[in-house]
């Protein structure tokens, strides 16, 4: 556990005049499940996107296995073994679940046809079907487009995809938000078994039961900064909520100098 798998320091990211991250830190060690929690708009999704290569930070450093990296594309993060379930799922609505599952890593027919780039749709359908069923997600057909799936079915496809391809770490941005009770349990089980296979998991969730149930550690974001870290075993629900809302850890909160959402709120009143 010497070198962290991912170590992000002082990440800053603004969208126009909205500062989504204002110097956020984040650490993920090999083989652990970290819950990344925080209020709505705290910057969790933004941080996940930056560490998946989707967005470029304005400032800050990212280290993978202690080596500084600058992710210029999703491809680079992927080749470092990092996969992500995005909060907006990032599925192509016109494509089938199987096509989405294998997007960017399509399986080709063996032999000459494969050299010509011909897809092995049957194999991909089978594999996608299996992966979805492991999560308890039942799809009427692997060929109808994703746009015809229910919210939970879509999320199941996204989760199955990320978990299947991850080699080092999976970011899951609210992976169970739309899932049923059974599916949620299966995903939590899956998180544990993924961890046991040596892949680290970052779970972004608003459900404290789930966080308590599967995570080893918790990192708390508030207004674009990390304000607290806990070992899950030693923290109470109240402490977590307190850290998220700023009732605790006021020393890091920056007091009245922190504008942004708060500032606007004051003006609107």
């Amino acid at each position: 556990m010497a070198v962290p798998l991912i170590a992000a320091r002082e990440i800053v990211k603004s969208y126009g005049h909205v500062e989504a991250l204002r110097g956020a830190d984040f650490t993920l060690r090999p083989g652990e499940v970290v819950a990344l929690i925080g209020d709505n708009g705290a910057g969790k999704s933004t941080l996940a996107k930056i560490l998946s290569g989707v967005e470029r930070p304005d400032e800050g450093t990212i280290e993978i296995d202690g080596e500084p990296v600058a992710f210029g594309s999703v491809e680079e993060a992927r080749s470092a073994g990092i996969e992500t379930v995005y909060q907006d799922l990032a599925l192509c609505a016109d494509l089938s679940p199987a096509a989405n599952f294998f997007l960017g890593r399509e399986r080709l027919k063996p032999g000459l046809l494969g050299l010509l780039g011909v897809l092995d749709n049957a194999a991909m359908r089978r594999a996608a079907q299996e992966a979805c069923e492991r999560l308890g997600v039942r799809l009427a057909s692997q060929t109808t487009p994703v746009s015809a799936l229910s919210g939970g079915q879509r999320q199941g496809v996204a989760v199955a995809r990320a978990v299947t391809w991850a080699r080092r770490a999976v970011f899951m941005d609210e992976p169970t938000a739309a899932l049923g009770v059974v599916q949620t349990r299966l995903v939590l089980d899956l998180i544990r078994s993924v961890r046991d296979s040596g892949v680290s998991v970052v779970l972004i969730s608003h459900n404290m039961q789930d966080v308590k149930a599967v995570s080893d550690r918790v990192e708390v974001l508030r207004l674009g900064r990390r304000v607290a870290r806990f070992d899950t075993a030693n923290v109470s629900m109240e402490e977590l909520v307190g850290a998220m809302t700023g009732a605790l850890g006021a020393q890091e909160d920056g007091g009245p100098g922190v504008p942004g959402q708060d500032g606007e709120r004051g003006r609107g009143a």
């Binding site: 992927r78 192509c92 494509l95 997007l103 010509l116």
Partner: protein, 315 residues
């Protein structure tokens, strides 16, 4: 039922509309319309547009558009004519047409993908640039094809069908299969469906867009050489509506302008519907102005039937 791919079903209804048109004209003009002579002419007239429309299908499935095809066609034809004039080699001429077509296409792709300029503006710009460039090269005077191209490839037949038709049909078939069954096709759909999701999925969106517009340009370049062979002339002023014709064919064929859905098979039908209408009405002796009115109305009706049947099936 469940196993049938959506893409295949999509073309069924509009295909039936085409068949209905063919049947109607055959019934109304049984001696003149359904003759081998006339049907071969129909196919031969549509062949070159088919190439442009196939390239356009790829472009529109990525949620793009390419207004430059007519200009690129003319520019490539001019380049080919000049090269053949200078070297006397048909091969080098064909190469010149393909290379210039590809170059314009890649320019489109680069400006759209890397410059992030709307495709409509980029291709409107390159339409003007390629057309103006062609006029500059020729001084506004149409160049003629070498006689051996015009009388050779232009007239050659195989099994009674013009060679140009075989070439266009073969290329269209290959591209139809490529779109439906290969990784390249899959990525084309993915980008049109949700470019951001495709990017996050690791699809090289920029590179792919450049290739798609390059393909459309390449096809326009080939179309330039074939039209030079067929008509024997570069036609600098003759291709200003090619872009709209190709786009219309693609959309009639069921491809959405918003990207993500569509098939080359649909486009093929979409190319033929206006061609058949025009031919049929002329053979029936409908007056030219009425032709315009009726073609417009039937076009809308044909697509309506398609939409309506598809909706009925989905409900």
């Amino acid at each position: 039922m469940k196993g049938v791919r959506l893409g295949r079903l999509q073309v069924v209804w509009i295909g039936l509309v085409l068949l209905a048109l063919l049947a109607a004209f055959s019934a109304l003009a049984p001696r003149t319309f359904p003759t081998a002579f006339n049907l071969l002419n129909l196919v031969s007239d549509a062949a070159i547009l088919l190439l442009l429309a196939t390239g356009m299908t790829y472009v529109i499935i990525t949620a793009g558009i390419d207004l430059s095809v007519g200009g690129v066609l003319v520019f490539s034809a001019v380049a080919a004519a000049e090269v053949m004039d200078a070297t006397g080699s048909l091969l080098l001429g064909t190469l010149a047409a393909l290379v210039t077509g590809l170059a314009w296409g890649v320019l489109n792709g680069v400006l759209i993908a890397l410059g992030r300029i709307p495709a409509l503006i980029v291709t409107l710009g390159t339409l003007g640039m390629s057309l103006g460039g062609a006029l500059l090269l020729t001084g506004g005077v149409d160049l003629r094809a070498p006689t051996d191209l015009n009388l050779g490839l232009g007239l050659a037949r195989w099994l009674g069908v013009p060679l140009i038709v075989w070439i266009c049909a073969a290329i269209t078939a290959v591209l139809a299969l490529m779109l439906a069954y290969t990784r390249f096709g899959r990525h084309t759909y993915a980008i049109g469906s949700n470019a951001e999701a495709a990017r996050r999925g690791g699809v090289a969106v920029h590179g792919h867009l450049i290739r798609v517009y390059g393909l459309a340009g390449l096809l326009a370049g080939l179309a330039g050489q074939l039209s030079l062979a067929k008509y024997g002339i570069t036609g600098v002023s003759a291709h200003s509506t090619d872009n709209l014709q190709a786009i219309a064919a693609v959309v009639i064929g069921g491809t959405s302008l918003f990207g993500g859905v569509g098939t080359v098979a649909g486009t093929v039908i979409g190319v033929f519907i206006p061609v058949v209408l025009q031919n049929g009405f002329q053979i029936l002796g409908v007056r030219p102005f009425w032709q315009q009115v009726v073609v417009g109305a039937v076009l809308v009706a044909a697509v309506y039937v398609d939409q309506w049947r598809r909706r009925a099936r989905d409900q």
